[in-house]
């Protein structure tokens, strides 16, 4: 199994702060790196995704930074809000063969 490692396991951030979650992967054949957001009692939903031909992708307050040589990517949440409190999963996908998810990070944003 090609692992995707994720850290930290849990994160507490003050409102307005920056949340940073890091992931590392092993499979160099991965061609798609999504981040999923999951609220309690709900299924995960796609938040933002990147392909390895770019080093950064930004959508509103959410940014993915991608380092192909280090096989690492990270999610940055700027101006974190209490509504961002959720569990975040990174993943790698190998040309649509199947997703490999990281173990998840539980984010709590304090008001």
């Amino acid at each position: 199994q090609q692992q995707v490692k994720q850290s930290p396991q849990s994160l507490i951030v003050q409102k307005g702060g920056i949340s940073i979650i890091n992931c590392a992967y092993e499979n160099t054949a991965f061609d798609y790196f999504p981040w999923y957001q999951q609220f309690p009692g709900k299924g995960p939903a796609l938040l933002i995704a990147i392909r390895p031909d770019v080093s950064e992708k930004k959508e509103g307050r959410f940014t993915i930074s991608f380092n192909k040589s280090a096989k690492q990517f990270s999610l940055h949440i700027m101006d974190s809000q209490p509504g961002d409190s959720a569990t975040y999963f990174c993943a790698g996908d190998n040309y649509g063969q199947n997703f490999v998810f990281g173990p998840g990070t539980r984010l709590s944003v304090l008001p």
Binding site: G43, D93, G96, N98
Partner: protein, 113 residues
């Protein structure tokens, strides 16, 4: 338009009983997946299906059986439930176009006593 639904949403059963979890999609996405979610393990793939009558094992298939006679349905059966199968089960679909996005159902919380 419901998209993807799972039933039941909650299920309590006893060790040794057979349990079937249902998954239904209205999009006609070709790929469907079953994951289980356990604390500390994230989402682990049980089985997936590329199309009707085509299924394949994922990371943790032991103790589970799937079928896909119709594109829109992908039931997951626990033939003889064990306590270790207590988990939250998610069904997902995927279009397999350029975007690769997977769409998840609301989940089924299964407790095996």
């Amino acid at each position: 338009d419901a998209g993807i639904t799972q039933s039941p949403r909650y299920k309590i059963t006893e060790t040794g009983r057979q349990v079937t979890l249902m998954c239904h999609q209205t999009w006609s996405h070709s790929y469907m997946f079953w994951y289980r979610q356990d604390l500390g393990h994230g989402l682990r793939l049980i089985y997936y299906s590329a199309a009707a009558d085509i299924t394949d094992k994922g990371e943790v298939p032991d103790g589970y059986v799937v079928s896909r006679s119709k594109t829109e349905n992908f039931p997951l059966t626990l033939e003889s439930a064990t306590r270790s199968q207590t988990s939250v089960y998610f069904c997902a679909t995927q279009t397999r176009d350029f975007y690769n996005e997977q769409f998840f159902g609301p989940g089924t919380r299964l407790t095996v006593l």
